[in-house]
Symmetry: C2
Subunit: 139 residues, 2 copies
Amino acid sequence: MSQRHTAVPAELRSRADADALIDAGYCPIPPREILDTIGGKWAIQLIVASARGPMRFTELERLIEGISRRMLTLTLRHLERDGLLKRTVYPTVPPKVEYEATPMALELYEAMLVLTNWSRRHSACVARSREDYDARQAS
Amino acid sequence: MSQRHTAVPAELRSRADADALIDAGYCPIPPREILDTIGGKWAIQLIVASARGPMRFTELERLIEGISRRMLTLTLRHLERDGLLKRTVYPTVPPKVEYEATPMALELYEAMLVLTNWSRRHSACVARSREDYDARQAS
DNA sequence: CTGTATCCTAGCAGATACTG
DNA sequence: CAGTATCTGCTAGGATACAG
């Protein structure tokens, strides 16, 4: 696997920029692998919640509003499997388990910020577009 | 809604950075809305494919390997509804329809690049983590 | 406290056939 | 060419109950 690695431009503003990128060999398609992990309903919230330090199972359950015990367990297991969360068990009675975001997961933060930023700038536009579209369908 | 908008740091490298960000009011959780649109199996590929200029239905069908006609239509409709693709119908016989990414969609490129970049740097690590995890389960 | 185990449902997605 | 219609399976995710 060749290490073709140029600096990533700050932002795309025109179709010409897009062309240039594609010609330069950029394939801006994140692997399914990543979209599947962070695309889940709770994954990102869990990463964020455990980014500041160890969090216990019940803490997370209380913090993440609306999550079921089942999905909490499932998502934690997936994230642990992918190396995004570290799980630590203290063999006490009652049991104590802590989850903490790994450095790799913290770096995902940046990507989240870019997405969030995009959404902040365009959510109104998306909403308007949807209204228009739905109105056109109704007519 | 207050416009609390500071420059976004290039990358997070430590928990302290994460702390600082959260304290600064950043909520790095992209709305479900965005993850639901781009999280789909074909959405990103379609945006990329139509980023360089107008693309016809059949062109896309040939280009995107493995997509069914049904999913192509469905995803195109969703993206059009969200204002990420512009659909143009030429009332000719036979009919001709073109799809083209909007400027808003082109900006999503940047976010894709960041995600792809993260994945490029860490996919090996994720794969190893999974192997380890699965091996531990087997034992 | 930290989970499993079951059952259930809605929606994503594939396959196939039909149409203006 | 550019779709729609229908049937079907699969999996994410919720509700609830149980367990070490």
